[in-house]
């Protein structure tokens, strides 16, 4: 960016100069546009979450223009004839209006709901990517905490939004939430009366959930996303091992123009998926459920998928309740709905610190692990996923029973056992798999590729002929210090050579050659520690 004005500028440059005159922003702009981001398909998962959130903000704002977040009773008189003349809350009636009387209202509602499901799904998958590749290690523990916070807030936000239409299905969910609050020792009844304004239903819950859903929680989520991205930007993204990639550099594309064009295009593609789902795949047809009525419920009541694991834990819990010292304790409610998620989310948040403590690893890590290289972590991950999936399955035990004509009781007993038996099995199996894969890698590095040829030496000895593994492929395995040293030793050249070409192996990896930007010597491999 030149600081002097030249007569014929393109408009973008003109604008940049205008801003620079006021903010001195050119250096920042230059550095930002030249910032390098590594590319890997798995790095898009977090992007999907971000883009879903943008779609949620856009569609949610539109919906809020028509939604009436009030539990005031009205008589429905809209165009959906089956419910005409029926008393219901203004919240439910306005949701019917959005669905039937507002042009384009239904597609916005459905896009909003699908985007919420996708938002939570992409957060969970992104979390798994970060976990299994060790991207949470120093210096990125803070961003892990922000991510756990976003996951938790996403659950709250989703549940609040799901409850707003005040239909029979979501009303049942709110009823359950109120009962869970009651089960908490000492403060339970106070908490429930405080949140609902009195004994359930209290008459205020829609009015209270509405500002929480459209202002408070999304505001916090937005701020946390900002911080999450700012940290990624400042600390620079992690990268997988590969030719020319070290702990001290980032190899990838510059933000401007190709990377931004791809990321921007990807936003529209994610949006397109949600538009297609919102237009073509019915979701949450509240007019079929009817308005909430505390004395009614439908068979097969299911929460949205992200709450499903808690519903499952509630279904699996034995009916333990005790009375002591003049008080009632309800482990049958508290354990699966309060204690269990409390423990799970605490462990999740603390994981980076626990791992660092137990492994004694205090170093900086910018090169991602391959899951097989960290067998215990990977095994813990699949163990947790197995535990989670059993709970999720249990949340649909009634659906499974009716589809497969099985006994609900037997399914429940089986899943109770599976909850304790399957995770350890998953742990052991995963760990063995990882160790075997690791050995295969080491074998490849030390032994080479089998040629299928056996040579007989003049001495009569038989030897197998092998090819050496090409340098660029060995670098992909250079995830540990020992491996890097071994590879360097083998190939007599430092892995830090930045001039190797990276071999595209997928849609987002096809690219040109590496050019050298820094004229300095490649940095030393020793990890910096404080």
């Amino acid at each position: 960016m030149a600081t002097t004005k030249t007569p014929k500028q393109n408009p973008a440059v003109g604008t940049a100069i205008w801003v620079d005159d006021r903010l001195g922003s050119s250096n920042f702009l230059k550095r930002s546009l030249n910032k390098v981001f590594p590319d890997h398909w798995s790095f898009m998962l977090g992007e999907v979450a971000l883009y879903s959130f943008i779609v949620l903000l856009l569609s949610g704002t539109y919906l809020s223009l028509f939604f009436d977040g009030s539990s005031r009773e009205v008589i429905y008189n809209g165009s959906y004839t089956p419910l005409k003349g029926i008393p219901m809350s203004a919240a439910y009636a306005s949701t019917l209006d959005i669905s039937f009387d507002v042009r384009g209202g239904l597609i916005m509602r459905q896009i909003h709901h699908w985007a919420a499901l996708l938002f939570m799904a992409s957060i969970v998958v992104h979390l798994m990517r970060v976990y299994f590749t060790g991207a949470f290690r120093k210096p990125r523990e803070l961003n892990w905490l922000l991510g756990v916070g976003l996951l938790t807030l996403g659950l709250v936000e989703g549940f609040a939004g799901y409850s707003l239409p005040d239909d029979l299905l979501s009303g049942t969910g709110v009823r359950i939430a109120a009962s869970i609050a009651l089960s908490i020792p000492v403060i339970g009844t106070w908490a429930q009366f405080l949140v609902f304004g009195g004994e359930y239903p209290g008459g205020h819950i829609i009015e209270r959930l509405y500002p929480i859903h459209i202002l408070l929680v999304p505001g916090i989520i937005l701020a946390l996303i900002g911080a999450h991205l700012a940290l990624v930007w400042y600390q620079k993204h992690t990268q997988f091992a590969g030719p020319g990639r070290t702990e001290h550099n980032v190899v990838g594309s510059k933000v401007y123009p190709a990377y931004s064009a791809k990321a921007g295009g990807f936003f529209f593609l994610v949006f397109a998926v949600m538009a297609a789902l919102g237009g073509l795949a019915q979701i949450n047809p509240i007019w079929l459920y009817g308005p909430y009525d505390p004395s009614q419920v439908t068979a097969g009541s299911q929460p949205d998928w992200y709450i499903g694991f808690l519903d499952g834990s509630t279904r699996l819990m034995p009916n333990w309740e005790l009375r002591a010292l003049g008080h009632t304790f309800s482990p049958n409610v508290m354990v699966p709905t309060v204690v269990l998620p409390g423990i799970l989310f605490t462990l999740l948040a603390l994981y980076p610190f626990l791992e660092a403590k137990l492994t004694g690893d205090k170093g900086y890590h910018n090169i991602l692990d391959r899951p097989r290289d960290k067998p215990v972590r990977t095994a813990l991950g699949t163990m947790s996923i197995t535990f989670y999936l059993v709970l999720l399955l249990a949340g649909g035990n009634d659906i499974i029973a009716s589809i497969f004509h099985l006994s609900i009781n037997e399914i429940t007993y089986t899943l109770r056992a599976a909850l304790f038996i399957l995770p350890p099995i998953a742990y052991v199996v995963t760990k063995r798999f990882c160790l075997s894969l690791q050995r295969a890698d080491d074998d490849l590095l030390h032994h080479g590729i089998e040629s299928g040829t056996i040579r007989r030496l003049p001495s009569g000895e038989f030897v197998e002929e092998t090819f050496g593994v090409p340098y660029v492929y060995t670098t992909l395995l250079a995830t540990t210090e020992e491996r890097r040293e071994a590879i360097e030793h083998q190939h007599h050249e430092p892995v830090t050579a930045v001039r190797a070409r990276s071999h595209g192996k997928g849609f987002f990896r096809a690219r040109g050659r590496v050019i050298e930007e820094s004229a300095e010597e490649p940095p030393q491999l020793e990890t910096t520690t404080d």
């Binding site: 009844t189 190899v251 990807f266 949006f271 009525d293 009632t328 409610v333 050659r513």
Partner: protein
Amino acid sequence: MSSIRDRLTSSPEPEPEDSAPGFAEHDTRSAGGSGAAESDPVAVSHHGANADTKRAELAVSGLFLLAALGAVGFIATYIAWPFKYGESGYQYYTPMLGITMTLALVGVGAGAVLWAKTLMIDEETVQERHHLNSDPEDRAGAAAVLKQGAEESGLMKHPILRRSFLLSQAALAVLPIPLLFGLGHFQHKERALAKTGWKKGSRLLDELGRPVKMGDLDVGGVKSVFPDVPGGRRMADSAALLIRMRPDQLKTTKNRENWVVEGHIVYSVICTHLGCPVKLYEQQTHHLFCPCHQSTFDAANGAKVLFGPAARNLPQLAITVDADGYFVARDDFYEPVGPSYWERKPSYKEPTYDGTAL
């Protein structure tokens, strides 16, 4: 398009290790990016590159055009397509909006990605990471500033000041708590939780508000009943279920023989687990099933828990028949209905509870 596919599918053979460092010397990839020919950039045919570029440009422009068409289609659908429930073709309104909107978004998105992949120069670049931790001098400096500030503030020197300052902070933290209490009506909290809308002599009303009398229900039948008080139909804790079975099928609990009337028995439907209405009645087995978490109760035997996470029986409502032959409640439920809570007692007696049935 073909150039992308070439680049994707014809991943070139890995170079012999010696040749790897040779790349940065020539860096003349044309914008057309016929990237398959890295090993010898000079060999990139200009003719081929131009043709590729032209093809890519056409493909990208085609996608952008599709986006424009999609947007026009969306607007046309939005304005012209019938959308009101019941109008002919209204059921295609949302799908049509979805399809046109998807076309518009896919056009823009795929166009931009394709543009980036075929026409933009996208080279792998190396950037050094900066050290995240500061120099020891900076750290020491920051620590010194912190310490000096603490000293300058005098907080360390004046213990009374320090304590009173902490006290003021604690007081401010406590200040909003009373505001929270404005959010709920906590008066008679326990009474509200324990009592329902049922009163001595309340008739049992059906869903349409008609009183239920003997003979309305056949053996094996069930009916939702509500207390005969204003708003009783909507009371979240008062919904109950009247079940009729043959008197010999019904095991009456001790001391509760006169809580039932000729095989008619009433239970609260508010699940003792998490409060869902337990209304799925299986006539043959007399099981009441909660669809939320599958707690199962035996209606023929005091609504005892047979299965599931619920810990307590469904409370039974004592009923009798009034002079006109209508079912009436003998009193409110003997125990709090619905889910458990800390202050819950197994029975709730107010001074006015006359315990008719006990």
